[in-house]
Symmetry: C2
Subunit: 324 residues, 2 copies
């Protein structure tokens, strides 16, 4: 049967913290119908006071989602995910489903265990601040930020397209990636930087003279150490395998630098490779993915390959003329 | 004999790169007489074109410094320091002397070897950008930044006061510290962050997907990896001992985090200590040093202790009524 490709599906956001609360705002600003659930009544009241559609009743939110075939967005921290998936399975098992959590394999596994895989496309907006809660939210939080969408083998083209439109409507560009490749990349560019910031702050602790001297490199290098520890732990610990691998690599680089400094007085190797890498990053201009048709034979593999090469979507890809 | 405490001594800046060039601009803007030397004629011509007093003739610059009893500021990279000190010893050995280099014990040793210790007070403005050369300079570069002045046992009160006034005139606040304590602190809050940035950039290199995903924590964590490699090497390699110690500490913290993650799935210890340290840093409000009289009995020890406790000077300390 024939369906219009872009349906402005209503969205139901579960969790109205920094990310979920910003999503409620951004999707509303984009003209979409969106409503939210939050466990704490304080967050719900704050959202309502700001003019948004929110409830503290999870069953009410999910019954409405089921009735409207809304896209459900899991925006709760990892530890709350199983409970939330229980609710979805009970009340709205046929709704399209996505998440905005920072690890993808662990979420995929939890979704699979709840029998909800068919309608699920994992997502991860690469944005945030050191603050949390409804009040910290911002409708511009996603503007210009990468938003990863998983292209694992099970992924449904219609659900993928719905989440793609939501991410683009919020001002993000979309990075297609397999969940395992996402997690390896996120370990290198998000989780390891967090642990480095914690390490820098810890190393300088208890030396007030060091603090008096602290300048840009220290402030920059420790900024994300201000993030709530439970959030940092949740994302690092849910990605223990890939994070362990990049920690091995980083410890090896630092150990070689230390040994080289002691033996020959030189840190040339590390400084040379780091500068070259940062220069390549500065010169890197995300190429745009244009010609892949979502749902066409091999589309998931093509998107994964394009994302692996550094490509991104800045506007919607075309879908097939008919979808079942 | 009696001298006015604040004499606006002329200043002679040797080296017109980012720091020296900014100093020439800032001191001029503060109404001081200041002139500069640069090895490359291009830098001299650019400075002259911008209306500043500069020469590529080191003997001319130092003969003028000697004639005017100018404060000589060594603003060349570490590798060029011995040559510059040869010139100073030959042409202007009795001028007050300071430097703006990022390590203090190594400079102190070089100055001692050239027999110039009596008139020397080491300095280190904790500021900079990833750019270099005359064109990168900015008269506001020092505004609000820490400027360390050494209070080693040999330091002369008059020279110390002259350098203090120069730093304050440029908009910095002054952090008094012994050279060895400066170097240990700088290893923790400047040199280690540089090596961490190089390590983060290197770890993420060759993974275009990681670059596509890179967000704030990666950009912040690798920003200083854009600094010219020879500058990073010069400061790290000249501070090998203290840097080796903080590298040991950092590698130990990261190794325990990796092992804990593998064994128990937790990074609670590192994340907890890092967050606590960053929070204390955010809450730290540099206390002001006011009541120490420069030149009075024990003044160097008092300033070192006040700096060790995190104190800074935001306005000039008083000197004794008479100085010899």
């Amino acid at each position: 049967m024939c369906q219009p490709w872009k349906v402005l599906t209503p969205a139901c956001v579960l969790g109205l913290g920094l990310i979920g609360g910003s999503l409620l705002r951004a999707a509303t600003a984009a003209g979409r119908e969106v409503f939210g659930y939050n466990r704490s009544i304080d967050g719900v009241q704050a959202a309502r006071f700001d003019g948004f559609d929110a409830t503290a009743d999870i069953t009410e939110a999910l019954e409405r989602a089921a009735a409207e075939s809304a896209l459900i967005v899991l925006a709760v921290p990892m530890p709350a995910l199983p409970t939330m998936l229980d609710h979805v399975r009970t009340t709205a098992p046929n709704c399209p489903l996505t998440d905005v959590t920072s690890v993808k394999v662990a979420v995929l596994q939890a979704v699979r265990e709840h029998g909800l895989l068919d309608r699920f496309v994992g997502g991860h907006p690469m944005t945030g601040t050191a603050h949390s809660g409804w009040a910290a939210g911002d409708e511009k939080l996603f503007a210009g930020a990468p938003w990863v969408l998983s292209v694992d083998d099970h992924v449904d083209a219609n659900v993928w397209a719905e989440v793609m439109h939501l991410a683009l409507d919020c001002g993000s560009f979309v990075v297609p990636a397999r969940s395992d490749e996402h997690d390896a990349a996120a370990a290198a560019i998000s989780h390891l930087p967090h642990l480095f910031a914690e390490t820098l702050a810890s190393t300088a602790a208890d030396v007030p003279l060091a603090w008096a001297l602290a300048a840009g490199s220290f402030r920059d290098g420790t900024r994300v150490a201000a993030t709530a520890p439970e959030l940092v732990r949740a994302m690092c610990e849910a990605n223990a395998g890939p994070l362990g691998s990049v920690l091995d690599r980083a410890i090896d680089l630092l150990t070689r630098a230390r040994d080289g400094l002691a033996a020959t007085g030189s840190v040339a190797e590390l400084v040379g490779s780091g500068h070259a890498a940062r220069t390549r990053y500065d010169d890197y201009d995300r190429p745009q993915i244009r010609d892949i048709v979502v749902g066409q034979n091999g589309w998931r593999q093509e998107l994964a390959a394009a994302g692996r090469a550094g490509g991104v979507l800045r506007s919607a890809l075309q879908g097939p003329d008919s979808q079942e």
